[in-house]
């Protein structure tokens, strides 16, 4: 039950094709360039300068937006969430130095924490995190998907009927019980933090996976965690450890879909392009 509903994002999923994982990663980095944002800002200036508490010059970054100021606040939010889950030190480290990777979707409002932020003059304040939102209880006029994982869809039918075909369960009215939204669950969230940290700060990613292993020794995402850890070790140049851990992984999960990606990852030339 828990396993079935802990919907893992595709780029973390064990059986995602490597090309898809990479495409999703690149898409997450596909933020506008700084000059594009500044053009947009200029176009909106009549509105931006008309606001009650603005009139100041731009707080947007002068460097590429993907490394920009707004992410600082979100990293702090990430740190706050993870600290609540017991990751404190590692993620604080992560939050104070990682700048290159856009963090997730924007939270409603940045949170708390008196840690260095690249955003000038941003007052610290406490705001509710979106993750704490109450679950939505759907009024199910539309059909429900009962089994989320197993059904393969023919690509010839991308029309509206697909949903109906997928749907099977007579769960109207009890949606919340049948579909607990675990996509923001602590285990998933923690692992996503690790995955997100991989590029900018593999050391932190590795620390988070250690924390994950402590908190969820028999978690639903053990394979994914080990995969992220091995990627982090490889990124840190600790290839020996990465190889050893990959061997353990192989012995433990001989049928894992991650194995092929591990092979690619640990090939003699780290760049797997031909």
């Amino acid at each position: 039950m828990t396993d079935e509903h802990a919907v893992v994002r595709l780029r973390l999923s064990a059986d995602s094709p490597a090309a898809l994982t990479e495409a999703l990663e690149l898409a997450r980095d596909d933020c506008p360039r700084a000059e594009q944002i500044h053009e947009l800002e200029a176009a909106l200036m009549p509105l931006l300068s008309g606001g009650a508490k603005s009139g100041t010059t731009s707080k947007l970054p002068k460097r590429p937006v993907a490394a920009g100021a707004a992410f600082g606040a979100k990293l702090l939010m990430a740190a706050a969430v993870a600290a609540a889950a017991g990751v404190g030190g590692a993620l604080h480290h992560f939050a104070t130095r990682s700048r290159a990777v856009p963090i997730a979707a924007p939270g409603g409002t940045p949170a708390v924490v008196a840690a260095p932020s690249p955003r000038p003059a941003e007052p610290a304040r406490v705001a509710p995190l979106d993750e704490t939102e109450a679950p939505q209880v759907p009024t199910s006029a539309e059909p429900a998907a009962a089994e989320f994982k197993a059904v393969a869809r023919p690509h010839a039918s991308p029309g509206p009927s697909t949903e109906t075909a997928v749907a099977a369960a007579p769960t109207a009215g009890t949606g919340e019980a049948v579909f607990p939204d675990t996509t923001g669950s602590a285990e998933v969230t923690l692992l996503e933090r690790a995955e997100r940290a991989l590029r900018a700060d593999p050391a932190s990613a590795l620390a988070i996976t250690d924390e994950h292993a402590r908190q969820y020794p028999a978690g639903a995402l053990t394979q994914e965690r080990e995969f992220v850890a091995i990627e982090a070790l490889a990124a840190l140049g600790r290839r020996g450890e990465a190889t050893t851990r990959a061997a353990t992984f192989r012995a433990r999960f001989p049928d894992s879909a991650h194995l092929r990606r591990l092979d690619l990852l640990l090939r003699p030339t780290s760049d797997d392009a031909p």
């Binding site: 999703l24 209880v137 539309e142 697909t162």
Partner: protein, 198 residues
Amino acid sequence: MKPLTLVNAKIDSPELSAQPAAVDARPREIPAFREIFETHAPYVWRTLRRLGVHDADAKDMCQEVFVVVHRRLPDFEATSSVKTWVYGIAIRVASQYRRRARHRSEELSADLPEVSVPPEQEIDFRRREFLGRLDRALDRLDHHKRSVFVLFELEDMTMNEVAQTLGCPLQTAYSRLHAARALVREAFASMDAPKGDE
């Protein structure tokens, strides 16, 4: 740069007035427009791109989104989250864009132009290749499924937030995600491996 008046003219449609369903009853402080812009603009831009807005149009469409945000901000129900509200507007702007573009030509679903790049731009080339693949896969999805996929897989929303943004029941959001994932996977499986991926 497009004058604001022109932009305003084309977004005053009934569809944009529809608010996504909001169920979180806790009141929130309504942030200032600038704060909303600074917090969300890069992500709205990124979302619009994956929803099929051409790179050349991304700025204008992003501008549309925030013009609507600005105009509707006084009416914003503080019972929903700003994030899902802003994304909901972006989803509708992208939907209108695609409908307009369909009349124009096939250009949206056309591949990214093949450009020969010098070796030092290999990373950029690789990026374009993979993003092109992803966009072609996403082009197979209808707007509903595409929106769910983008919000969940790329914007890291929870499924509750996705459902709230789109104003649909949670089960429906799950159904759409499931269908979208199957189609995207299949699209990737049907494309040849991009690299030494034996």
